[in-house]
Every structure is written in C-alpha cells, then in structure tokens.
Amino acid sequence: MLEFINVNPNSGDPIYKQLHEQIVRLIVGGQIAAGEELPSVRKIADHFAVNPMTVSRAIGQLVDQGWLERRRGQATRVAQKTAQHTDQQETLLFKAIDQLIQQAKQLDVPQASLAELIKKRWEL
C-alpha cells in the first residue's frame, strides 16, 4: 500500500496530514480493504524517510477516528466499514471541488458551463 502514498515535504500540508488524508482516501476508495494489516510505523517512516513520530501521530489520529484498529501486540489493521466511510466519499472531494470552483470564478466560467465541462471530461 505504501506505493499508493506520496509524501511531499515541500507541500503546504504537514507530513502527518498528508499521510492521514491519503490513508483515508485509500480506505474509502477500497484500495486497502478492511482487515488488511498496515506496515509498522518504523517501516512506513523508513520508506518515506520521515520521523517515526510523525507517522505514529497520523496513525494515532486514524485509530482515534475509527479508520484503523489497534490491538495490543498485533499489527494495526483497517477497521470494518461504517456509515462514516461512505459519507467521507463525498467530503473528501470538497477540497478539490472548492479549488475548481474558485478557479472557474476567477476565469468567469458560469456554474452551468462548469457542470457541462465536468461531464464532458468525465466521459473522455
């Protein structure tokens, strides 16, 4: 699963947020299935050459929010799907959509044309 994740230390977002968001996406999108084991914090940290504390902060938040499950003495696993997961499907797009709308406004593209454009591109 690590190959799906991309960490960019120069981005505006802190690394723990990037990890958090991308793992959520992978869970919601089904690229990592419920019950699947996550690599150890150390392994993830080594892979991205980031501080293990950063990784464990991201994992900790994901556990707190119910995305992951951690049992004593076992590897961290992806939790079973809940209603929350499906809600997220759409909210995860908000940021990208907001950006798109902002750009459309700046270029003076009306809402209807934008919708039309999305449809066109979707069908490519």
Partner: protein
C-alpha cells in the same frame, strides 16, 4: 519531568559589538530532534558551538547533561557527539587509521554501526582522508560522532554535502538514535525539506533571536499567512511573527475566521522561512 539533555538559559553573545545571540532559551530533551533553521550568519553555529563549551556566552548559562558547558567532565564528553561544518583533525590519516584512533577514545564504540556505515557509503578503509570529497568527509565525521551512540548529538549542517540517498539513510539512523536510545538531537540545516522530514521540533533563529520554537506539526498547523487590505486588521489574538504592508505571518491560528482577512494560507517550511526574512 525529565532533565533536559541540553538547556540554554538566556544566552547572549556579542562579537565586536554585533549581537550574535540574543537571549536564547532552548531545551533539548530525550527523543527530540530539533531542527535549527536560520540564514547564514544568523548565529546557528555559535549556538551549537557554545553547547560544547567552545564558545563562552557573555550572558546566561548552558547546561549539558546536567553540567555547565564550559566545565564538562570527561564522562559527559563521551556522551556528546558533534559534527562540525568543516571537519578537521585527521588530515594525513587513512580512514581505517583515523577510525582506529578515534575508536580508542571511546569505550562504548559500536563496531557494527561503523562497519554498516562504511559499507553503506562505500568508504574504502585504505583511502586517505585528504583525498575524500567533502561529502565523504562529512560521512566519516558522522560515523565518528554517532558510533558511540551519544546521548546528545549536535550537528552543524550535517547533510549539506550528502547526496539525497545518503541523506535519507542518515536520517533513518538518526531516528534509531533519537527514539531507540532516547538521545536528543540538535541540528542545523538550510534544507527545509530535510527538516520537515526529520525534525520533531523547529527552532527558527533570525539575527540571533529565537523567533519560533515549537513542535513542527504545531507550527505547520497554526502558522498562517494572512493577507489583508486594511492595515487596521485586528490580529491581537495571535502572535505576529512578521508584518508587512498587506500581509502578516501569524502563529497560534486554530481555524477560526478573521475579520477583514482576504486570505489565510498555510505555509510550507520553506515558504515560512522565506516569508519571515522578507
């Protein structure tokens, strides 16, 4: 509360009337990796050297492993690792000879780490140190500073001359040291992306003053660039790090709306660094 490995208390230092360090307070605790960020000449090297007792501050007190930095005992010195910007002291040696001699000064030398590093960075035991590239010398200095697993590691621009792959390898070993051995690390660097990866804490130093000191993630979460049109904007709820005509860098932002603000943007470490020196 554990005793800090290194603590600076109200440190000031002047060179020829110029203030190099101004009232610095900083603690390094076990497990911390503090990235010291600042322009050339901001006082980073002076700060690091003063922790070793090489430079005595005009004011304030530096404690290293519970002792004053200028009166370090032999046993404390054996627990400190230091890599200077320019390593110097084993000219004329072959790598193997230099390591053998250096090893003999430290009772707790980790031969495995030494061998691993030599192999990893393709350093040949028979090469003369004078023939090494700057990066290779730096690697050797890192081996010499880390092979005895120091409790406090002080690194002055340790990775500047290493290639990206060597830098990553080195960082992963840094974590071994900081997290597994409970050491504290204070390192200076210009490479903000490295600091972003490695550091647990950031200390940003500008013209001898410690402008910002906090957990890296807290800084990233709560530092924002606010743009505005009216100079009357009320930013009193935050610590303003830098204020220009139409924008300001604030610290302590928690996601609320700010009246009169045109935009509130996150900043990468590099952007923050540049903005603060604007």
């Amino acid at each position: 509360m554990t005793q800090p490995l290194l603590s600076y208390k109200n440190i000031s230092k002047k060179y020829n009337q110029r203030c190099v360090l101004n009232n610095i307070n900083l603690n390094v605790e076990p497990g911390m990796v503090i990235g010291l960020l600042g322009k050339n000449g901001a006082g980073k090297t002076t700060l690091l050297r003063s922790a070793l007792g090489l430079i005595t501050p005009d004011q304030g007190e530096i404690q290293v492993l519970g002792e004053l930095s200028n009166q370090l005992s032999a046993s404390s010195k054996q627990k400190i690792g230091y890599v200077a910007q320019q390593t110097f002291g084993y000219e004329g040696f072959k790598i193997a000879d230099a390591l053998a001699l250096h090893r003999s000064f430290y009772p707790d030398w980790d031969m495995q780490l030494e061998t691993k590093w030599l192999a990893r960075f393709e350093l040949n035991n028979n090469d003369a140190i004078n023939d090494l590239s700057i990066g290779q010398r730096q690697t050797l200095a890192l081996i010499m500073a880390m092979a005895y697993r120091p409790q406090l590691l002080i690194l002055d621009e340790p990775v500047a001359s290493l290639d990206p792959i060597a830098r990553r390898e080195f960082m992963s070993d840094l974590f071994d040291l900081a997290l597994d051995s409970g050491s504290g690390i204070l390192f200076s660097s210009h490479i903000t992306s490295d600091i972003e990866r490695v550091a647990s804490h950031i200390a940003l130093i500008k013209q001898g003053e410690l402008l910002l000191l906090d957990e890296l993630d807290v800084i990233r979460d709560t530092v924002r660039k606010v743009s505005f049109r009216e100079p009357t904007i009320d930013l009193s709820a935050y610590k303003v790090l830098n204020r220009q005509q139409n924008c300001a860098i604030i610290y302590g932002y928690t996601g609320e709306a700010i009246v009169d603000a045109l935009a509130i943007n996150t900043l990468s470490l590099e952007q923050l660094f540049v903005e603060l020196h604007g």
